[in-house]
């Protein structure tokens, strides 16, 4: 990578870090969105092409970076479809498959965990996942014990490694060729959302609130160590990018504030605290409207979290109530990108730069993303206006801190299915260097467990 591009990359990343840390920086981040759906389709490929063909995905991002060289971060697309196909994942409908090739992918609601399986989930998550949940959500496991079902696990594992490699290629293309950092790396769901999204489903979880609240709470707590360790396993090793958390059922009015305080928040708070103690920052999408509940974000150490505020909530109010503790992103209505005018975008950007965004700790964005149907002239107006109105300092130059933040406290150990001690006993001891064998055994076991959790949502 050329020096110039390296410098641009480090400057952009340093600007992002300072913004999240609520520290002074030179200007507002340009297009600091975590989900640039517009970038996915801008080059003219269908959504199906992007999801299936990595070369087109990379080409699409390259074209976007070339046509909009002012942007500071870029991440487009969310799904690499072949891994879903390898196992017959039922939680999504995909363009080109059971949706027309240019329709958005969509989540399928279902009950993938039964009400009487809480104890199993709590006490033996591996058995719960392999014997109960995965056979329900992975269509290729339909005939247990068949060759096809064995191949599904193998193909799914191979696809997992292949996907990691391809995503890395995509990220490196942006970094080395265009100096563009990622908005996040690694992902974790709130424990309550793990249960509500892809396990019990919405119906199930609401019934559980009333019929088995103790089990629900116990399960939320039981999920924490594995959620945290699997998130760290896929996060940026240098801790340079925040860990991503799309948050769903904290959206008012799904839960009453009392239910939120009792069921949704405590395990979420513990899980995020562990990530922060491990030295990571977090980028959380507060999807929908979090107004009655967002005061909780003040409980964290200052400058460790970036909260995306969705279109349904008032970001200026968020700034007043939590903006001194967490960085905020949002402020522009999706429909303004879609059928508004460049003048409206300019005006809104100016307004936000002069008010909620005036003192930093603020990233202009749509509602947790830039919509697919954004008009190019509106995106151009968004960039230009950010540069025009979002300047903080003529003298400050962002400088990247390259040393990863330290880890404090006890980080949960990643789960294994068959511990080394069991394997060693079966060996009856080894004749050479045990650590050489143990190391790889445990690494593969941990990755395999995280693969079981990959299908949570």
């Amino acid at each position: 990578m050329s020096d110039e591009i390296q410098q641009m990359f480090e400057e952009r990343l340093a600007r992002y870090h300072a913004t999240i840390a609520l520290e002074p920086t030179d200007r507002m981040i340009v297009a600091g969105t975590g989900s640039n759906y517009f970038a996915e389709v801008y080059a003219g490929y269908t959504r199906q092409e992007i999801m299936y063909d990595i070369n087109k995905w990379i080409a699409a991002e390259s074209k976007f970076a070339e046509d909009f060289p002012e942007i500071d971060l870029l991440r487009s697309g969310r799904i690499w479809a072949p891994i879903f196909d390898s196992v017959g994942f039922k939680l999504y409908r995909l363009p080109g498959q059971d949706l027309p090739p240019n329709t958005d992918f969509q989540f399928v609601e279902g009950e993938w965990m039964k009400a009487d399986e809480y104890d199993l989930l709590i006490n033996n998550p591996v058995e719960f996942l392999i014997e109960h949940r995965l056979p329900r959500v992975l269509g290729e496991l339909k005939e247990r014990g068949s060759s096809r079902s064995y191949m599904a696990f193998l193909k799914g594992g191979m696809a997992y490694m292949l996907m990691a490699q391809l995503m890395r290629e995509k990220v490196l293309n942006l970094e080395k060729k265009y100096g563009l950092p990622q908005p996040f790396q690694g992902v974790m769901l709130a424990p309550f959302d793990t249960l509500a999204d892809g396990y019990r489903g919405l119906q199930g979880i609401m019934i559980d609130l009333f019929e088995r609240p103790d089990k629900l709470l116990e399960a939320c707590d039981a999920l924490i160590p594995d959620s945290v360790s699997c998130a760290i396993a896929t996060a940026n090793p240098l801790k340079q990018y925040p860990i991503f958390m799309p948050l769903h059922r904290g959206n008012h009015p799904f839960l009453s504030p009392k239910q939120f305080d009792t069921f949704y928040w405590p395990s979420l708070f513990k899980a995020i605290t562990l990530l922060i103690e491990a030295g990571y920052t977090v980028r959380a999408y507060l999807e929908g409207n979090w107004t009655p509940n967002w005061h909780h974000w003040n409980e964290f150490p200052r400058g460790k979290i970036l909260c995306d505020i969705d279109n349904k909530a008032d970001i200026s109010r968020a700034k007043k109530e939590i903006g001194n503790n967490v960085c905020l992103a949002g402020g522009i209505l999706d429909r303004m990108f879609i059928f508004g005018t460049p003048e409206e975008i300019r005006s809104r950007v100016k307004e936000l730069c002069e008010t909620a965004g005036r003192d930093g700790g603020f990233i202009l964005n749509g509602g947790c993303g830039i919509p697919y149907s954004t008009k190019p002239e509106n995106f151009r107006a968004y960039i230009d206006a950010t540069l025009e109105y979002g300047k903080y300092s003529d003298t400050l130059k962002p400088k990247l801190k390259k040393v990863p933040a330290p880890s404090v406290g006890k980080i949960p150990s990643p789960r294994v299915i068959t511990p080394w001690e069991v394997k060693l006993k079966e060996f009856g001891g080894v004749m050479g260097d045990e650590t050489l064998i143990k190391g790889v055994w445990e690494t593969l076991e941990q990755r395999a467990f995280c693969w079981l959790r990959f299908w949570d949502w």
Binding site: P100, D104, L202, H252, L255, G288, Y372
Partner: protein, 211 residues
């Protein structure tokens, strides 16, 4: 305000076992099933009112529907057809083509039925023409279009345009709802109303049929 019976109150208080016990007891004592259903329905209406006032949330709405559904398991086999909805007017509703989300729509459907409307729920990913067909067939005065994704804006506009083409635009009031919608989207789509939440949607339907 309707005076709530013990059964209705049990439903409002989300006491599932008590509801089932009272239903069983009433049936044993020979109370007509239709009367029992009416009491339960009064309870559901009160649940809806509490949701409207901000005392209850989607959690309570969903759980009360669950209790109601379970109670109906005892009652449904006992009579052929329960039609509580004719008097309130017909509402055709669906999630537009390209969008399969329906949580919000289903809440609206529940509340509308509780309020006495006859709801023709077309489900999700509904083809443009299908809305028009069903409106022509049922002569419903209200069409509700739901979405979660903003790709639906164009599709909603297509539906309204198709109503014009079919010559029935002036016979139908179109309400749009769903997370990404607002007044500006209503204007773009050419709809008559925008409902920011389920309760507002019910109110609009009542207003339309009161005219």
């Amino acid at each position: 305000m309707v005076q709530l019976t013990d059964l209705a109150k049990a439903l409002v208080n989300l006491e599932k076992d008590r509801v089932n016990a009272i239903v069983e007891d009433k049936l044993k004592r020979g109370i007509p099933p239709l009367e029992i259903v009416k009491e339960l329905n009064d309870g559901m209406i009160e649940v809806g009112e509490r949701f409207a006032s901000g005392e209850y949330f989607i959690s309570e709405l969903i759980y009360s529907s669950h209790i109601m559904k379970e109670a109906m398991v005892q009652l449904e086999p006992l009579f052929e057809h329960v039609d509580l909805g004719e008097l309130g007017g017909k509402v055709v509703i669906g999630t537009v083509k390209g969008d399969i989300h329906d949580i919000g729509k289903n809440i609206v459907v529940t509340l509308l039925r509780n309020a006495g409307f006859k709801v023709i729920d077309l489900g999700v990913d509904v083809g443009t023409e299908r809305f028009v067909e069903i409106l022509q067939e049922t002569k419903a005065k209200v069409l509700g279009l739901s979405c979660l994704l903003n790709l639906a804006f164009q599709e909603m506009k297509n539906v309204v345009d198709m109503l014009k083409k079919a010559g029935i635009r002036d016979q139908v009031k179109v309400i749009i709802g769903g997370t990404p919608t607002d007044e500006q989207v209503r204007e773009y789509v050419g709809a008559d109303y925008y409902a920011p939440d389920a309760v507002a949607g019910i109110k609009i339907c009542k207003e339309i049929y009161a005219q």
